[in-house]
Symmetry: C2
Subunit: 705 residues, 2 copies
């Protein structure tokens, strides 16, 4: 399978990534964005005085930058080195959990984007400083043991405008683009700074000097003596200083630790050992995880994408503000992503989930009305879809996405966001932070009241749309899918999520010493309503509970994840209080997982809906988890193979992509997306079996370790 | 002639411009750059309920932005308004000195970029605040007097992400891109904010609301009642906060007056009357100048380009730092542009020239050696080519441009920069600031010594190259022309510039009570050397004084501008002390200004060199001034017509362009360039006849008024 797929390589919380992986399309740094700038990335080596081997990461021919200056110049002709651009097929590539490695003959090039647990601010400044430092590492190695002449290697980037030695007195070797990003090495024998329009010529050719400050490409080269292996460690760092958001003024959290780009780059090099060890730990964990190679790839690819969208900010009052941006769409803390990324965050930094939930409660909650014909009835508490877009926070109570008078994409998701906040709060609180949860009692009761207010006929599921929809109708997170998943009212996926919210509410309110029974009774009603909709003749529950529908949808089972993860195992067994529902869903799933229903007949991958070829991998991963853990489905390895193929071939140019066409994986939307880390659920949950679920309230420290 | 040429519309000193003028290519704001971002610019109107008339400023089809979200959406179909994109031929366009106006039927759209005298910092804060405020104005008008239904007009930009009313509580109406740029109006009846993916639909269609915060385009619309003329005044503003440069840390000067984008936009609207009056004053001055329509266009076009490259910064110690960036190349204060832009700056803000000269003396001067075979001899004082590139200041004594071991483009310009600093300092000092000049006595003597040190054989002109050239050779500002102008040693253009420097030095040193005679004697030697090279048989002085050359070059006369402008009229007459030189140059010019020599046989425009089709308009304008004022050449109107055609047709897509192909004006380099304002010399010099030249030293206040 081709090794030409785009990947992010991003530090945690910096909303910045170094993008690479497509052949012939370049790459480079994206800041406050996740799109590739498609600039030339020069990775090259030469052994035995032969041709320069250039990895296929250029987007434009060599040396174009200089032409604008030389309409009719008559300088000396310069001998150019022979360059061979390596065909992609000659490269070996391996994506690790925290690494990305290319090999060609004696040459190795690795990008390391280490990640791990991040302490809550205020707990351990040194650990936090390392975690938020906006750098990744590059490692290059060249085996010159079989040669009797020196060999050279080069790493350089288009878009720079200054050599780093200028501002550091030579303490750093490399190149930078203004104050924004750069690549640096420590001075060492054989290490040289390169800047030129033609960095290949400057590094491998006769031209001297090696630094021309007008040149728009630059980096670092290493000369490796004959008979040795040469190794070069680089930091690739970014710095976005000052106030970076509007609506709510914030700066990057790391600006409190680092004064500028040079300090970031130097710190990255000083701490290279720490970062390398952390990357190795993650890589080895994944290798030893027992997951198939395909699942290892899917988790590693998803992780790279998630990190690229993360952003730790600090408010003017010094409080941290966590954002996961929504991939190509750049929306801030989309709540229907928060609930899916929770699984990741509970593992490594649960306090970020709390941070998002608190900001929703503080600024993006509202008291709704619902529509009943021409009437407006009290709707209760809900939450907006998001907090803004592209570093702009929307005003309180307003999202950037939701618009009135629509019934498709861009309409309101009021009901679903209510379930998303509820589920996220309960999972976060019970698993990681009982003291926080205990302060949410009233708000959870308000969530319950709001769920109840939206069920006018008392059958447990949503009947009425938010008045905010105007003359439109509510939708779900599956906004761009067809009615089988996109419409909110009577939606099977949302009905089961409603049931799950009620089950979790019953549990949480009871633990908090509040009245959980009302939630339990409503959960029973919802379960019955859903179970009653099972059609034995068809073998599944049609996607729309109150309208004609032929669609069979996999996400009917999605929300079983939440009670399961809370350890409420009896609620998701066929022998438990909701046994009839679980049985109906088991049979539903059996029907769904057949070729031509929800297995794509061409590719063999999962289709979320039998009536759409638009399918979403983050949700597939989550539903695979439920299918396997709750229903004991034995995963067919061909399914994962198809999903890998979608990412590595169909959507390869768009990085980790959520929405793809099920026939071939072509990207249909949600490109460069963070949500795919739902597949971290394939790993054992670190909190499982620790007795945190059903015991009486107990305090847990900030920063789940 | 086509009206489709790109223009900058820029406030003074903000290194930011709103770019518009090409058809089908969009435009938009460029910050710390002068390249068009090629984003959609929506300028549209509708009368009598007919089709929406859209000016041809889109670079992409309508509504593309939304597609990424809607792979398979099933929202309500929306009625789209009928849109007619106006063919460029239907538009009338008029570029004024401080305005740019498009008309179509009842609709008028104007961009105002007013400019004028700018006081030196510390003299008049209020005037300076207005001068540096980073805004321009847009005015739209729609005549709806002949209709009985309301009409609408729209101005909107692609790339926004927030409505301005959010952050201002409705005090401003419009849209912004983060904290960086925006367009604003004051609230007023009929004025509405627009934001959407499809702003045409939002403004003219059925869709509501008119603000969708996820939409990537936005601006302002105005509804004009039946029977009225509607007028809308907008500010288009930018804000680049924080430290923006590296190498030398500086911020934009205006950040001391304005805290952010909203304040800039509001100030622009509050001061709209001032800005409109200032633009009108400039427009009318040009209209009444007596210049031909062609020359008016060339000056107006040049002015727009110059302003786009200007940048007033403030250093950490509070001192102002003036930069003119070098067009598409973005080099900082290129000294061979400073000497040409001096004519403009002496008119409006001479203190900026002093600022640049002082920074060259402080940081970018060096003591040179020259090469004599293998020997290195003392070379004396000189100056670097520039101070850095793209907001990066190079280390002291180093330019971004100059590189060793070359003999063409990118080599050193040491000798020419020595003449450039000398001439600029003397013109600035004598015309605008005698006290400053009186402090430069020693430095001017060092300049003279350096000129002498580079003339080993005592014939008055340069013999030896700077040791900085390594095994290469010095070049001139005409770097990308052929040897007739590009090579420094023995170059006729540079020889006359050397003579002019010596003449000016003699004058200045004498006024300062120092020994000017040594300069005068050397000027005589240079004059003789040049005069002796006149070849009567050919009728001109070949371009290379020490080598075979057939080239006849117009810039042989260029440097006569300096003594002429200093009022040293006797030095540039055939009856004066350099009469033989002036006679030779008059005959040279007569030969040059013949078809097939330096008049392009195809276009009729001026070719700087008979041996190259690469010709430079800024230098043509300067040489036209000399030809007319010094030699009494009667300008053939067809020459200016050809030059207009080069800018409006050949290089139209590249904005004000310096280097063009003389046959058809195709851009060969130096696009989006500031230097074309040499043509301000076509206007009377405000300092002429004020007796500032030959009188004993007298103090002049800062900030020439």
């Amino acid at each position: 399978m081709t090794t030409a797929y785009l990947s992010h390589h991003a530090p945690w919380g910096a909303y910045a990534s170094f993008i690479l992986g497509e052949f012939g399309k370049g790459g480079g740094f994206a800041l406050s964005d996740v799109h590739s700038p498609h600039r030339n990335v020069y990775v090259a080596y030469r052994v035995k005085g032969g041709a320069v081997h250039l990895l296929p990461f250029l987007s434009a021919p060599l040396g174009l930058g200089e032409l604008a200056y030389q309409a009719d110049a008559d300088g000396k002709p310069r001998a150019a080195p022979t360059v061979r651009t390596l065909p992609g097929e000659e490269l070996e590539r391996r994506l690790g959990w925290a690494s990305d490695e290319w090999r060609h003959g004696p040459f190795q090039f690795r990008l390391l984007s280490p990640f791990g647990e991040v302490p809550s601010p205020g707990v351990d400044d040194e650990a936090l400083r390392r975690a938020v430092c906006p750098v990744i590492l590059a490692e290059l190695a060249l085996d010159n043991r079989e040669s009797d002449v020196p060999a050279e290697l080069l790493f350089a980037l288009e878009g720079v405008n200054r050599p780093l030695s200028d501002a550091t007195g030579g303490a750093l070797i490399g190149a930078a683009c203004g104050r924004a990003w750069g690549v640096a090495a420590l001075p060492s024998p054989g290490v040289e700074e390169i800047q030129d329009f033609d960095v290949i010529g400057a590094a491998f050719g006769e031209r001297r000097p090696r630094v021309r400050r007008l040149g728009n490409a630059g980096g670092v080269m290493l000369t490796v003596p004959a008979g040795e292996i040469g190794r070069l460690v680089l930091t690739l760092g970014t710095y976005q200083g000052g106030t970076v958001t509007s609506g709510l003024d914030t700066s990057f959290y790391y600006t409190q630790f680092f004064s500028g780009l040079e300090e970031v780059l130097a710190f990255g090099l000083a701490q290279a050992g720490h970062f390398q060890a952390l990357a190795t730990t993650r890589d080895e964990e994944l290798l030893r995880s027992g997951l198939s190679e395909d699942r290892q790839f899917l988790l590693a690819h998803a992780t790279h994408g998630y990190l690229a969208s993360t952003q730790l900010l600090v408010r003017e009052d010094g409080q941290p503000l966590w954002v996961v941006n929504e991939g190509e769409y750049r929306m801030i803390n989309t709540l229907d992503l928060t609930v899916d990324q929770l699984f990741w965050e509970l593992r490594y930094h649960p306090w970020t989930t709390r941070n998002v939930l608190d900001l929703f409660a503080e600024r993006y909650a509202f008291t709704d009305e619902v529509k009943w014909g021409e009437e407006r009835l009290p709707g209760g508490l809900s939450f907006t879809h998001d907090m803004g877009v592209s570093n702009v926070f929307t005003p309180p109570g307003i999202s950037s996405y939701e618009t009135e008078n629509l019934d498709g994409c861009f309409s309101h998701m009021t009901f679903e966001q209510l379930t998303n906040w509820t589920l996220s709060a309960i999972l976060y609180g019970l698993i990681a932070d009982r003291p926080w949860l205990s302060r949410q009692g009233e708000r959870l009761e308000a969530c319950l009241a709001s769920l109840l207010a939206r069920d006018l006929d008392g059958d447990g599921i949503m009947d009425v749309d938010s008045a905010r929809t105007g003359d439109g109708a509510e939708i779900t997170t599956y906004d761009s899918l067809d009615a089988s998943l996109g419409q909110a009212r009577g939606n099977l996926y949302l009905a089961v999520k409603t049931w799950a919210s009620l089950v979790c509410l019953e549990h949480a309110l009871t633990i908090l010493g509040r009245d959980g029974e009302r939630a339990g009774r409503q959960a029973q009603r919802a379960a019955r309503r859903i179970t009653d909709a099972f059609e034995p003749a068809r073998g599944y529950i049609p996607a729309l509970l109150s309208e004609e529908s032929d669609a069979c949808i996999i996400p009917a089972i999605e929300a079983l994840a939440y009670p399961f993860l809370l350890g409420l195992r009896d609620t998701v067994t066929e022998q438990g209080p909701y046994g009839a529902l679980v049985t109906a869903l088991r049979r539903h799933l059996t029907t769904a997982l057949q070729p031509g229903v929800c297995l794509d007949a061409t590719s063999g991958g999962w289709k979320l809906s039998s009536t759409s070829v638009n399918t979403w991998l983050s949700k597939i991963f989550l539903c695979q988890f439920v299918a396997e853990k709750v229903f004991g489905v034995h995963s067919d390895p061909s399914w994962d193979k198809a999903h890998v193929r979608w990412q590595r071939v169909g959507a390869a140019a768009h990085g980790p992509t959520d929405q793809v066409r099920s026939t071939d994986g072509e990207a249909l939307g949600s490109r460069l997306y963070p949500r795919l880390v739902t597949n971290v659920l394939w790993l054992p949950q670190p909190w499982a079996g620790q007795g945190v679920f059903d015991s009486p309230c107990k305090a847990r420290p900030d920063g789940w370790r």
